[in-house]
Structure formats: structure tokens, C-alpha cells
Amino acid sequence: MTPLSAGLRAGLARGAIECRQTLTNSQDLMGYVFPSLVFLVVMYLMRDRTVEGTDFSMGAMVLPSVLGMTVMFAGLMTVAQLLIVEREDGTLLRAKAVPNGMQGYLVGKIVTVSGMTVVSMLIILVPGLFMFDGLALGSVGAWATLAWVMVVGLAATMPLGAIIGSLFSSPRQIGLVMFPMMGLIGISGIFYPIGDMPDWLQWIAQVFPMYWLGLGMRSAMLPEALAAVEIGASWRHLETLGVLGVWAVVGVIVAPMVLRRMARRESGSSVQARKLKAMQRVN
């Protein structure tokens, strides 16, 4: 085994261990279940409203959109949060102190967050399938679409999360990212059809991954006819792949630079300084 592949394999193992830990830990489990429960209740309350011009349940349309949003949250917020917390507590410095450790850490993080994303999606998807009729998930094609949208979505959002996580220094500042995220949810057609928004807002929404993740998930799970209410009356797979792909490519170029700059500054004394600061916050 070459040392490099040892780093990769260690990263995969690390991801597997962390996935198991997050699923056998009541605090983490609450973190998965609680927000999912909220979304399920919202969808349930929307079940009798119909999508304009059809008799299709609004709740059933929101379900895939929320799955898309979940991918964005996991890729962006979870990655950023983990990075900030694990930089503060010295996890990252330990990775830096072992050979190929940063590589192992990053691979591990990708595996862990991907696993967390799948779990978060399943917690919404499985009850949702029982709640609504008319979801078109019977074909292999539908699941394949769901899978590629998730993978490309994670590729588009994880580097962003890594960049944000590198730029902020304290776990508290992550709240600053929540506000624009909330705004993005509002304009991206997650809970309301985007067609009801003014034109200029539609354009802004279409710049960010959130809208395309929602659209991609809808395209996987909703009947063909529902495409009619989307922008351009189409699922626009090519555009989805294009926009998410551009975010992914830009992210994959920029994130390593930002990560490297951040990691270079990590040392025992910087962790120590943050520890002291955190202790002061507690006291």
C-alpha cells in the first residue's frame, strides 16, 4: 500500500467511523429527526392545497424541494460548521500532525457529510412516500436522477461550505450565514412555486444551487406533467447540471486554496488561544 492510498483509505475509514458515531448518538439523532419532523408537519398541512392549474397536492410538491434544500444545508452549513468546530477543538491540527492527515481528514469529511445527507433525506423521504400519492418514484430512472442531483449538489455545495468554514473563526459566527440561507430558501421555490415570484427575484434564485437542487429533486420524483409549472415549462436537466457544475468547478478550484491558507495557520498555540477564548465564553 502506498502512503498516499493509505491516506485515502484512512479517510474512507474515518468517514465510516464518524457515520456510525453520528447514528449511535442520541444528540445527533435528535438533530436529524427534529427538523425533518418540522418539514413533514409543514408538508402534511399543505397536503390539501393543490398546485395551481392541477389537482396535484402542494405538500407532495414541497417534499422533493425540501430534499433539495436538505442537500444544500448539509453541503454548506454542516461542512462549514464541522470545519469551524473541529478547527477550534484541535481535530484539524491533529490531522495536520500526521502524514497525509489533511487528505484523510477531507476524504473523511466528504464521506461523513454524504452519509449524513443520505440519512437526513431518508428521514423525510420514507414517511413522505406514505403520506402522499402521486410521487413518481417507481422507475430506476427516477432514483438515478435523485442520485445524480444529490451527488452533483454535494459537489457544488461542499466546497462552498469548506470556504465559509475556513473564513469564519468562531462557531457563533455561523449564524451570520443562516440569514442569507433563509432568504435563499424563500426565493428558491422550495415552499412556494418560483413562478409566483417577481422576475428579478427568479433571476437571483437561479444563480444559486438551492433552486436547481429543488428543481432536480422535483424532476426525479414528480410526474412529467408537473414540469409545466416550472420556469420554461421544463425540468431543465442540462441547465441544472450546468449551474451546479459551475459551482462545483469554481469551488473545487477555490476551496483548496482557502483551506490550505487556513490550515497553514493552525498550530498548538492557535488552538490554545481559541480554547482560552471559548472558556471565557462559558464562564
Binding site: A6, A10, Q21, G90, A97, P99, G101, G268, K275
Partner: protein, 323 residues
Amino acid sequence: MTVLGEVEGKPGADPGAGGDAVISVSGLRMRYGSVDVLNGVDFTVRRGEVLGLLGPNGAGKTTTIEILEGFRMRSAGEVAVLGTDPAHGDERWRAGLGVVLQSWRDHAKWRVSELLSHLAVYYKGYSTRSIARPRDVGELMETVGLTAHAGKKIGQLSGGQRRRLDVAIGIVGRPEVLFLDEPTVGFDPEARRDFHDLVHRLADDEDTTILLTTHDLAEAEKLADRILILAGGRIVADGSADELSRQVSTESEVKWTLGSERHVHATLDATAFVRRLFEEHGEAVGDLEVRRATLEETYMTMVQQFETGQREAAVREFEEAAQ
């Protein structure tokens, strides 16, 4: 033993010892903004040597060790660890180093044996002809006294157990050079003794080169083959504990009585002072006591002055005493 004069003095760094030097530092400077934290530091460490970097808080110990670990960029100077500049060390170089970090709450959900086994994996493929990497995790836990806690979650370890784990993580890759920054902070007396044994075993049995920082002279005396005293951004003394004692402690304290009156006087030349004392007072002198200051006293005086802000004066006085 070499004791530095002024900043430009040629120090303990002996370029002739290059063949055996695992760490060599010359002219190391570190400047943050307009503050010089390191002001021309030179030293070498031979294979298998335990070097104690001693100095008051803020003397630049941590900065020095972090530069050697490759975690911090220096402002100027030449540095080589295992023949490589730490600023450009690759992963193979990194595999030869052990760094003992102070854990806080990282990996809290991991179990002790789980984390050690995981970190051990990174060292596979970095064995050399004479060094098998990584260490066996079972033996390692036995060595540091964690076997009974192997299945415990790290977040549930006591402070002392955590520090043992930190040490275990530092040596899991069987490093050639081990860095320890204030290693025994938070150790109970038993853990401290175990730790001292471990350091000696690593140095004696495995020829590990160890660089540790401490502000505790007693600890440096116990652990280190050689002590460097760092103050004011430079090395003000370099030698074994014995050598330092002889060199540094030149001041003596003379106590005597005249009638019912007690006197104390500190002097660099006790013999001459006592001679004068008798010349002046003759038979009236009683209870005469002459005591040479210990290394510890001299060091403590320096630290005290240093910490109360009289940095330059402290360093100057210490250097004068050391000459």
C-alpha cells in the same frame, strides 16, 4: 557548555556536529508586527538527545517548537529537522516526527483504541529499514497506561488520561524526533513520574530525539540531557543541569551577626568579602554562613524580573551571572 554574550555571540550551535545533528537551528528570528519574539536563536540537537527548552512564559519557547514542527513560518534563519527545512517538509518527513498536542475536546465521540488504530493507519507505508511503523496499538496503550480505558469514549476520559492519550498519539508512528510543548501540564504526580520514565525509555531504547519545552526548571533537570534557557528571544544559557549550576550560580549569600545584629549580603566574591569582614570586625563576627545561590534561585530571579516587565534587565543580569 557555551554561554552567550550579546545577541551576535556564536552560540551552542556547533556546525561541526552536523553529521549527527537531528535538529539544527541557526540565526532563527521571528517577528510579529514590530515585536521580535526570537532574536537570533542557534542550537543543535543530536540523535537520541533529550533537550529541554526552558524559559519564562513569553520567552519564545512555543514559537520555536512550532517552527520546528513545521506549523509556523519563521521570519529569518536556517532550520533543519531530520535534514529538511520544516517549511518545506513533505509527508514522508512528517512521518518521522511526533507531535504531542494538548487535547481539549477533539474526537470526543471516538473510543481510545479506535482513534489510536485510526491514526496508526497513516503511518503504514512509512517504515524505514530500521524503524517499523506504526507501533502496535495494544502495546502502545499498555506503555502509556491506557489499556483499561481502551473502550472508553475520549470525551469521558479524565484530564490525566487525556494527556496520556496525547502522548500515545504523539508516538504512535514511532517518530525519530518527538516534540513536546509543556508536556506535563495537567499531570498528576503519578502520571508525571510515568511520563518521565517513558521519555527516558524513548530516548534510551529507541534513540528518539526529544525536544521539550517547560517553564519548570526541576522538570527540565529531571528529563533533559541538556537545557537551553531561552529569554528575551535568545538563548542565554546552554548546558547540562550540572554545567548550568556551576556556570550560572556565581553569586553567594553571606550571613553573619555582629553582637545581636544579623546581617545578610549578596556578593559575587564571597572570599574577598569575608576577608574584609574579619579585617574590619575581627572577633565580633559570629554565626558566619556562606551559601552559593542555586541554579534554581538564579533562574527564578530572572523569571520574576522577566514577568514583571523588566525583560531586558532580567536577561542582562542573568547573562552577567552566567559569565
